[in-house]
Symmetry: C2
Subunit: 373 residues, 2 copies
Amino acid sequence: MTCHPYSERIARCGGLMKAAGLDVLLLAKPANMAYLTGDGRLCAYAMITKEGKAAMGVPATDVEDVKRLACFDHLAGFEDEVGMIHSIARHFKHFHIQAGTVGLEYTFLTHAMMDMLTHPHGKPEAVVTKDCTPVLSELRIAKEDGEIERIRAAAGVAVAGMAAAVEALKPGLTESQVAAEAEYALRQAGADEFWRTYVCSGPRTNIAHGLPTQRRIREGELVMIDLHPIVNGYSADICRTVCVGRPTTAQEAAYDLYLKAQQATIARIKTGVGMTDLEDTLHGIIREGGHGDHLFGPTMHGVGIEFEEAPLPPGHAFFHGEKAPPPLATNVVIAVGNCGLYTGPWGVRVEDTVAVKPEGPQILTDYVRQLTF
Amino acid sequence: MTCHPYSERIARCGGLMKAAGLDVLLLAKPANMAYLTGDGRLCAYAMITKEGKAAMGVPATDVEDVKRLACFDHLAGFEDEVGMIHSIARHFKHFHIQAGTVGLEYTFLTHAMMDMLTHPHGKPEAVVTKDCTPVLSELRIAKEDGEIERIRAAAGVAVAGMAAAVEALKPGLTESQVAAEAEYALRQAGADEFWRTYVCSGPRTNIAHGLPTQRRIREGELVMIDLHPIVNGYSADICRTVCVGRPTTAQEAAYDLYLKAQQATIARIKTGVGMTDLEDTLHGIIREGGHGDHLFGPTMHGVGIEFEEAPLPPGHAFFHGEKAPPPLATNVVIAVGNCGLYTGPWGVRVEDTVAVKPEGPQILTDYVRQLTF
């Protein structure tokens, strides 16, 4: 089995672990497991040593499937949660780890999951725990060329989903029916899965997380559609706001302002630019346009295996256990337009997935940006 | 605004909190917030006192929407995560809570979220924390008649989704395309959302969590479809295994055995029966049929606002922070057939959502159970 690019990633991970004072990682987040082994699934774990060895524990039913998909030095199947704990114990033993520091995903694990992974029947008593979120974020933040291609493929699928939703839009449809059209098209275009679809209409375009409901769209209302397909293990993020009928002058002006700010922010993207500078650009234009009080939410976030991952913008990063984001490196991928312009009775938002290149931005979700069709 | 049934639920919650030594709850899990206030959303919290008062904190954009949907004594909007912490501080002050015990959802919160909810700028120093999972589970475990009707509606939608998927099944479709048909039908039938759809085929029917992929279904293969729509805030859970073409004798025998075991288990359901007894029934029949070594996974679980909630079966409950499940009360709703019979090259599983009644089981997901069509 060829272990490219996983062995290279694990070697890089080992370097970051040493710098962070971690001897071993015990990962349960599918995105992190997938990055380092080629397979991430529920109810499983990966143990990664700083010397670059990987052991995995998966449900006994899944052993053959994981053998086909993942790169590892050791694989164990377990029958249940008690078996998982014993499997962890055996892997600590296998790697001769009796003391030191194990990195856990503090931003992913619940208290209950943390108790399971550090159960005294699993983890040796002298092994202490520490958050490994910053290590995994740093590891995954700049994408390999192959990853950019996968995100580009996901972006193409996202565009197909958005086109289907926008074409289907008409008064009388429920928000959920619009989501149905988008998701059906995502899967037909090649999505394995998708993160939660947001479709909201009318007054609901003003809320922070507009999950679809049975609300029927009326003539003249705004509709906000936000899609995040997963294709071949990678995600993309696109949002468009569309008016079903004729927008008011105020809606049109707010939309034009938001789009101008979003596009100006994207135009400034290139290797070395700071996220704070980008945020200032977007906020500045919206403030100048008189809508400063209507901004809400983080301006941007990273995109990769997850549709929302590192880098996270200043002010959002701290509570996610992230360090302040460094200047953007080449091949970081971000979604720009995650914040909305929320006026009270309605809101607008336009979001695109963009790769950072030395020469400038490479927009991956290239679907038309217009309020009316 | 009429606060039925929320004020009654909050009163009941107060009684359980006192018994558990909790002075106040600080909830962030949408399912728990929805049960007690009528609204559960992301990036929000509900503070519930043992005297039966409720305060909510939500994104500032969402205040009007929450006013329309929820019952509460106090509502605050916040701008960002720092604002959320200050809002929590103000609500502790509002309720004059300077010491005591606050219940947190240890089985839902990540370490990072826990840090945010208990930030020293939010929680008074003399307030200690304790897991409130068992209180919420006990509170929600037996459903009101109105809740049963909502689960029944979700079950009807689940049946529509299953019918669409089974009718569409043919060789050459990808697993994801089958999921597309199911999910489209779920939304058209009235689902607001759905939990992750599982569609797996051929050798993938043997894995524990068969999320759909681009694998193309071949003539003669088994396909396992597991759906969980959310309708009006409540969920249902249905799984069927279907052969695309002619099954082998071994597949037919295993399917018949599993179905016999699942149906015999359901037949034993009535008020007062123990979950261990039910599990023994299912396991016993499968063992007698010679497939004892092929059983994997928890036999059953509760269904309600979440498609997987309390009661959880023995051996699965501990790590979810649950107490051993008591005998089933009237109006507990469970999904039976959550475990699979996994032979190695393929697996079979049939799962239904069932309400517990004094006179016996009330099957809510009544879609035909057969291997071939």
